[in-house]
């Protein structure tokens, strides 16, 4: 009987390690777009971290604001210095739940992710539609949403109001692999 228990235990433990509970993306990509008649601004961050906990359908994202690279080098300085104030708020984070997530569903599923996005020290509740693709023991997650600059208490001086859109379009793409604790 004892042997049986130990056997069951090892099956459970090793089984848990084979079917990972958490998946991590270390080189997630987030792109920002601001379209105005005066100027189009594009920025990219290729070092975004994200993790999914399959058992609860929870997801978290963390990015360094300083890692956003702009087409114009000077914009990166302005972005960090004058707008997102990355010396005080170095990171933007998201934490939420993938509603009705089915981890074992093969192929693509479109799900709503509901959670809190925190940037510039301000949290906003967001509902984001995302495509989730299960391939080769990994997940791909992509989608986009819009962030209203004003919601995050980011001040744009009146003289530059024409250059920076009031609503920033945010594209995201993550590729997850099993996370070893």
């Amino acid at each position: 009987m004892n042997k049986f228990i130990i056997l069951v235990y090892f099956i459970l433990v090793t089984g848990q390690q084979l079917v990972a509970q958490k998946y991590i993306a270390r080189q997630g990509r987030i792109a920002l777009f601001s379209y105005t008649p005066v100027e189009n601004i594009k920025a990219e961050n290729n070092q975004v971290l994200s993790i999914i906990d399959l058992s609860k359908g929870r997801i978290a994202v963390s990015m360094l604001m300083h890692a956003f690279i702009f087409e114009k080098a000077l914009m990166r300085e302005h972005f960090n210095e004058s707008y997102v104030e990355s010396d005080i708020y170095p990171k933007a984070t998201f934490e939420g739940e993938i509603i009705d997530f089915e981890p074992l569903l093969a192929g693509e599923q479109t799900r709503i992710i509901k959670g809190n996005f925190t940037m510039h020290g301000v949290s906003q509740e967001l509902e984001i539609k995302a495509k989730i693709n299960y391939v080769d023991d990994g997940y791909q997650l992509s989608g986009n949403f819009e962030a209203i600059v004003d919601d995050y208490h980011i001040k744009i001086p009146p003289l530059l109001a024409g250059n920076i859109a009031k609503v920033i379009s945010v594209d995201f793409k993550f590729e997850y692999e099993p996370y070893q604790e």
Partner: protein, 300 residues
């Protein structure tokens, strides 16, 4: 072993396997996964000049600055019929960043007839974290050519006599998010100029600072202390107070100063009036910088 005991052992084992999987907060895990990155303190100054003198800042690779510097001042006469100001001097320059560390520029000034060129190299960059350098150091070297006539006809001059050189080690620290301070030990070899005095070597120490008044506006001031000024004509240390204002691709600098000249060796060793609000001592300075990005990459 009884079946009940067996079950207890099983439950305990199951709990033990379950605990490490759920105890940690997801954001906490990401916090730990975040690779350590060395970050440099950005924007010790917003512009490549504090007011008239160079700051430790240089532009990123591929950026061209169209630099238009103006000084307006009045003559000593009580009455004058000039529109706005009696005198105007303009330095027009193109300044280009060859790399993130090395930049160069060429300029010409209308009033004192100086043509100048410089090289600027960012040797050390201040780190934003606790580790790394606590100051930024930029090396600066310029050469200028005096193109105007010399008043004394007995003086024979050659091309090399008309060259002046300034060497500076700009040392600055972004003390906190609003306040930055710069020290600039300077060596000047002064060539021939209008008064025909012989060339000589000078040592000077520059002090400059900025205080951010807002996200886009900062208060700036600068002073150069000349350690061995020439006896004749008498000169004074150039001083300035002003504001720097950034507007996207345009940087504006406004200043009040006693320095008429805009090339380093000229304002450090050749400022002939002390700073006060009387004419012709007071100059109003206005620098306009337009930034053009020739390199537009979404990669570092």
């Amino acid at each position: 072993m009884s079946p009940i005991k067996n079950n207890i052992v099983l439950v305990i084992l199951l709990l033990l396997t379950g605990i490490p999987a759920s105890a940690q907060d997801l954001l906490q895990i990401l916090e730990e996964e975040q690779p350590e990155q060395l970050r440099y303190a950005d924007a010790t100054f917003k512009t490549t000049r504090i007011t008239f003198g160079h700051s430790v800042e240089s532009r990123k690779k591929g950026i061209l600055e169209i630099f238009v510097a103006n000084r307006f001042w009045d003559g000593p006469a009580q009455r004058s019929q000039s529109f706005f100001a009696d005198r105007l001097s303009t330095r027009l320059a193109l300044e280009y960043a060859l790399s993130d560390r090395l930049s160069t520029g060429l300029g010409g000034t209308t009033w004192d007839g100086l043509f100048d060129g410089f090289l600027k190299y960012r040797l050390i960059r201040q780190s934003a974290g606790k580790e790394g350098a606590s100051v930024s150091v930029t090396l600066f070297q310029n050469a200028s050519y005096y193109s105007e006539g010399v008043s004394d006809p007995t003086i024979e001059d050659t091309f090399t006599d008309r060259l002046s050189f300034t060497t500076q080690a700009l040392v600055a620290s972004r003390v906190n998010r609003n306040f930055s301070l710069q020290l600039a030990p300077t060596f000047v070899h002064k060539g021939l100029s209008y008064y025909g005095e012989p060339s000589r070597n000078h040592f000077a120490l520059g002090v400059g600072g900025r205080y951010k008044l807002g996200q886009h506006l900062s208060f700036v001031s600068e002073y150069y202390w000349l350690l061995n000024p020439a006896d004749s004509p008498k000169t004074y240390g150039p001083f300035s107070i002003g504001v720097n204002w950034e507007l996207g691709d345009v940087m504006l600098q406004f200043m009040l100063t006693n320095a008429v000249n805009m090339v380093e060796e000229a304002f450090i060793t050749g400022t002939r009036n002390n700073f006060n609000f009387r004419s012709p001592n007071l100059n109003f300075g206005f620098n306009f910088v337009y930034v053009i990005h020739f390199r537009r990459n979404l990669r570092d």
